[in-house]
C-alpha cells in the first residue's frame, strides 16, 4: 500500500503507524459543562463505515508528520492524504 505524502510523494505504508479515526483530533474541552458525556462519546462512539474513512496516520519512519488519510475500507484504495494542521504544526 502506498500513501501519497503531501510533502514527500508516494511512500510505503510500512513507514507509517496507524492511529484511527481522524475525529480524534477534535478532542472535547475537559473543563466544559457536560464534559463527561462528551468524553464518553469521543472515546467510545466511533463510526465504522464501509467505504471512505478519514483516519490518522503517523509518518514514524519518515518526517514524523501526522496525516489525515482518506481510505476506502472496502478496497483499501487511498483517496487522499493531507497534513494535520494545528497548534505547533
Amino acid at each position: 500500500m502506498l500513501i501519497p505524502h503531501p510533502l514527500l510523494g508516494p511512500r510505503d505504508a510500512q513507514e507509517f503507524t496507524y492511529l484511527g479515526d481522524a475525529r480524534l483530533i477534535d478532542r472535547p474541552d475537559g473543563m466544559a459543562e457536560g464534559a463527561g458525556a462528551a468524553f464518553h462519546d469521543y472515546l467510545y462512539l466511533r463510526d465504522n463505515p464501509a467505504g471512505p474513512h478519514r483516519e490518522l496516520w503517523y509518518h514514524e519512519h519518515g518526517d514524523r508528520s501526522w496525516l489525515v488519510v482518506t481510505r476506502d475500507t472496502t478496497t483499501h484504495e487511498i483517496l487522499g492524504a493531507e497534513l494535520v494542521k494545528g497548534p505547533g504544526r
Partner: protein
Amino acid sequence: MTDLIPEPALGADAPMRREIGAVTLTERTDVGLASLALRAAASEPAPFGLILPGPGDSVVLQDKGAFWTGPGQWMIEGSENGDFAATVAAEAPGCSVTEQTDGWVVLDLVAPAEALGTLLERLVNLPPEALTPGKATRTLMHHMSVVLIRRSDSRLTVMGMRSLAGSLWHALEDTAARLA
C-alpha cells in the same frame, strides 16, 4: 584524568572500509551532527550561510551541510567533532539545537551511478526520483530507520542509529555482495 578516545560505531580500532565489487563501503567518523528545530512563529535562520532546504532536499556549503528532516526541522552536518551543537546554536539564535553526533553511524557508499541505482532498488522502497543527487530522505531499510543522502551520482550516505550499526553494515555488505 584518563584520556578517552571514542570508538568508531562499528567497534573496530579504525573506521571500517570494504570494497565489494564496484561498491566501496566506508564508515565515517569525521561528521559532526546537530538537529535544528524552529520554535513557534520563529523565522528561518541561515546557519553558516546555508539556505535551509525544503522537504526531501539537502544543501552543502564548503564543509557544512543541512538536510530536511521534518516540517521546521533540519539536521546540520559539519566536520567538527567537538561540541558541534554549540557551534550550530551560535549560528541559529532562538532555535532549538540538539547534539546528534554520537547517536548515529554514518556510512558512505561509493559506486558507479548504475550500480548504486541497482543497490537502492533492493534496499529501499522509494521511487528513483526521491534519491537523485542533492536529495535526502528518511525511510525504512531492512526494518531499520535510516537517512539517505545522495551526495552525487556515485556517492550515497546512509545514516542509521548507532546502536544498530552492525546490522546496517551487514545489510549493505550483504546486498552489495549479492550484486557483485
